[in-house]
């Protein structure tokens, strides 16, 4: 790897300042995933450095390595040219690295001043007791500099989401950081609040602070960024100055993930009647005015970046979350009520976390397969072991569960086979509409295509499928068409001819 400081950046800029912080060949592996793969990156004082990448490209891991929450397996970090060891958050703090996390790090029953100064409480010299007066005075100053008139004695528990985000920002600012890392800071903010934050970022940049900014909004990349680094599959694809790239080029660098063997649809059948018809769906969980439909014989994708509201749509359709406005029609009839009422209409939700929500791990394969259809198999409530065993065997054969052992505990199966059993459970119950939430997460490549083959079997038999996936290639290769969500709304719909990773990302990132 080149040892110069300008590795891979825009060569158009003469006399670029020496980097404040450099990553050199940093790697981080989790079981089964190479989250960071030989990443080198320079961050300079006085620049806004945008980090771009699809879901799972390695941005969050990178931040955590910078902050000492994870330790890199390989590679070095240089601060002002000197190799440093960042093994704990305290190390990062000492170097002047502050992070505004996306998942909030406030303590609910401490007040705002205590939250802002958590871990750095000012103390009186002699008694070592906390100097509340000074702490509140300084907290007041930080909040004032952000134009916030929040009472420093208010508890964090009483704040709304946007307010919590602003306090997070205040907390990071109060550290007088030299490197400020922001993970999608505007996700919870209104446009006005975002604009005020941008003004503040420009001030900090002018004052020589280095800002690392993760964003999913293309507009922000160009409005704010000096340089852009694109990550894909844990590798750095490129670092360029913001002026050099067009949005399309950046998207081109983000897509094309290596996902292994890509599934090939056997055939695209003709779509039948509408099974699921969602109109104007709005929920308290953040879904806004969503319209979508799924027909018999169709696999419809629901794509978008993590947090865009996809799972929330599926949960609302299934009756697991309350609907604030709009309606859900199943096979033409408007439905209301909880999951039991919806399931009785032939709807199945296969949740993302199959171990927690979809399987009884300590029960047998047979028990798991038949649990949703016991009343159908034995309408008089009288369980007949022989008949149950025959049904389970037939399902196991159809699902190609390996090993084909009905009495084996579900826990002892591989991820792919567990997923087959969750699907088989609803198959046995005679469901007509399947809502899949990330069905291939944590499943090896071979089992993935078996899962998709099963899903295709379902639609060939006339079922309707809504498929949520963060893997863009899956949406592109498996679905008949797809909706793309952005910030709780449907950003657009893509027919089979338009279905490509770049088009999905464009809609997901609001690039028109």
């Amino acid at each position: 790897m080149a040892r110069d400081d300008h590795d891979g950046d825009g060569s158009g800029q003469p006399a670029a300042p020496a980097p404040l912080l450099s990553l050199r060949n940093v790697s981080k592996t989790f079981p089964g995933v190479r989250a960071l793969d030989d990443v080198s990156l320079d961050i300079r004082a006085g620049e806004v450095h945008m980090l771009l990448g699809e879901n799972g490209a390695g941005k969050s891991t990178l931040i955590k390595v910078l902050y000492g929450a994870y330790r890199a397996d390989a590679g070095t970090i240089l601060f002002e040219g000197k190799a440093v060891d960042i093994t704990r958050p305290a190390d990062a703090r000492r170097l002047g690295i502050a992070v505004i996390f996306q998942e909030f790090s406030l303590v609910p029953f401490l007040d705002l001043a205590q939250n802002i100064f958590l871990g750095r409480e000012p103390r009186r010299p002699l008694t070592r007791l906390i100097d509340h007066a000074r702490m509140h005075r300084e907290a007041r100053g930080v909040l004032d500099s952000l134009g916030l008139d929040y009472d420093t004695r208010a508890l964090a528990a009483d704040l709304g989401v946007a307010q919590q985000q602003m306090v997070e920002i205040a907390k990071a600012l109060s550290q007088r950081a030299r490197i400020l890392v922001m993970d999608e800071p505007t996700a919870a903010l209104s446009e006005r609040e975002s604009n005020a934050l941008f003004a503040l970022i420009r001030q900090l940049r002018a004052a020589g602070v280095a800002i690392v900014y993760i964003s999913h909004r293309m507009q922000e990349v160009f409005a704010l960024g000096d340089r852009v680094t694109v990550l894909r599959d844990g590798r750095r694809v490129a670092t360029l100055s913001a002026g050099e790239a067009t949005p399309d080029e950046l998207i081109g660098m983000m897509v094309g993930r290596a996902v292994g063997a890509v599934y090939k649809r056997r055939q695209y059948g003709a779509a039948g009647r509408i099974v699921l018809d969602v109109r104007g769906l709005t929920t308290a969980t953040g879904v806004r005015d969503v319209d979508l439909n799924v027909r018999e014989g169709e696999i419809v994708g629901l794509s978008g970046l993590v947090g865009a509201g996809r799972t929330e749509v599926a949960r609302a359709v299934f009756g697991a979350d309350a609907i604030v406005a709009g309606e859900v029609r199943i096979s033409g009839a408007s439905v209301e009520g909880g999951p039991e009422r919806i399931a009785a209409r032939g709807v199945a939700l296969i949740p993302e976390n199959r171990k927690l929500e979809g399987l009884a791990l300590k029960r047998s394969v047979q028990d798991n397969l038949l649990v949703a259809s016991l009343w159908k198999l034995f309408p008089h409530g009288w369980y007949r072991a022989g008949s149950a065993h025959r049904h389970a065997r037939a399902l196991i054969e159809r699902l190609r569960v390996t090993p084909p052992a009905p009495r084996r505990l579900a826990r002892a199966l591989s991820g792919g086979n567990q997923q087959k059993i969750v699907i088989g459970k609803w198959l046995a119950a005679g469901c007509r509409l399947f809502l899949f939430d990330e069905p291939t997460r944590g499943i090896d490549v071979g089992a993935k295509s078996e899962i998709f083959a099963l899903i295709e079997d379902l639609v060939e038999r006339g079922a309707a499928v809504l498929l949520i996936s963060s893997e863009l290639t899956e949406i592109v290769h498996v679905c008949d068409r797809a909706y793309v969500m952005r910030a709780g709304r449907i950003g657009g719909e893509l027919g089979r001819a338009e279905l490509s990773e770049a088009n999905i990302l464009r809609l997901a990132m609001h690039e028109t």
């Binding site: 990062a92 007040d111 958590l118 409480e121 007791l129 009472d151 934050l197």
Partner: protein, 322 residues
């Protein structure tokens, strides 16, 4: 400077009082009027003494529960501390070394509880259930199941001491309250009690050694038990291996009655003090009415449920109003 004009202003909200306050007041009023002998000077002094030991157990218990923990071993450890103190006195040691031995035993159990909860991430319920068994068994082994007496007069004299008109036990208990209050609101340790219960990750990310503070919470409990043994032993001028077994029930009850939550690090010491007062008055009044101890436990259990139901109903109404 940028102005976040669209952000709504954030005011400090007045927190509603826990339901224990009106219920406790009603209970005291009822006892004053309806229970013969309750208002006598002797009984009121007795109340103060009864409340002292419970207050000492309940103060650290508040911090432990705020940290999303629990200490089932508190009563058994207190018994063991008392036994160790008594054996030491009976062996001819002075009161200072007896107290030091008692504190050492309490601290050891507190550190062990804390280490297993903090470093091994074991559930506090199971950890302290285990140490409860160990402490109870150790007391019985040390005493062969008998009371320890013949302690001389030193500790009884200390117990009967009046300082500025306040009985010694009450003074120690009030000092414990004051110390816990100072720790909770004026030290980093106290701030981190809120953080460990409310958002431990935030504390770790803030660069603080959360694991050490987590251990310290339980260690504080053990230390206070060691001191509380002074009152328990002095009261009878003897120690009994199982005398304080079950006292953790009253301590946990007082904390819960006081409005401290098992989640999110929400708690207040004053509530616990009210809880201690309520339980002491309730037990005392029932004693005076000649109602046996098992029925007293029933009434405390019922009181807990009543207060929790009222508090949760009020909370859900507040959420709806918001």
């Amino acid at each position: 400077m940028p102005a976040f004009a669209s952000s709504r202003s954030v005011e400090r909200r007045v927190r509603p009082l826990p339901a224990i306050l009106p219920i406790g007041v009603l209970l005291v009023a009822g006892a004053l009027f309806a229970v013969n002998g309750f208002a006598s000077a002797r009984n009121l002094a007795n109340l103060g003494l009864q409340a002292s030991i419970l207050l000492m157990l309940a103060m650290p218990m508040t911090l432990i529960i705020m940290s999303e923990g629990l200490d089932l071993s508190a009563g058994a450890v207190l018994s063991l501390c008392s036994v160790v103190m008594a054996e030491s006195l009976a062996g001819g040691h002075g009161i200072a070394s007896a107290l030091a031995a008692s504190i050492a035993v309490g601290l050891a159990f507190g550190l062990a509880n804390g280490a297993m909860v903090s470093l091994l991430a074991l559930p506090p319920f199971v950890v302290t259930l285990g140490t409860l068994g160990i402490a109870e068994g150790a007391s019985l082994v040390l005493t062969e199941g008998n009371a320890v007496s013949g302690l001389g007069s030193a500790i009884a004299t200390l117990y009967a001491l009046d300082v500025f008109g306040l009985p010694f036990p009450l003074l120690v208990a009030l000092a414990t309250w004051l110390t816990t209050y100072l720790l909770l609101h004026y030290t980093r340790f106290g701030t981190y009690v809120f953080a460990i219960g409310g958002n431990r990750d935030a504390l770790v990310l803030a660069g603080a050694p959360a694991w050490a503070y987590h251990i310290a919470i339980y260690a504080f409990g053990g230390l206070v038990s060691g001191v509380a043994a002074l009152l328990l032993t002095g009261r009878m001028n003897a120690a009994h291996p199982t005398v304080a077994i079950g006292m953790e029930f009253d301590a946990i009850a007082a904390v819960v009655l006081g409005g401290t939550s098992f989640e999110r690090g929400d708690g207040r010491l004053l509530g616990t003090v009210l809880g201690v007062a309520t339980i002491t008055v309730l037990r005392n009044a029932l004693d005076l009415l000649g109602i046996e101890s098992s029925l007293q436990v029933v009434s405390i259990g019922a009181l807990i449920l009543l207060v929790i139901v009222i508090d949760s109903l009020r909370k859900s109404r507040r959420v709806q109003a918001a």
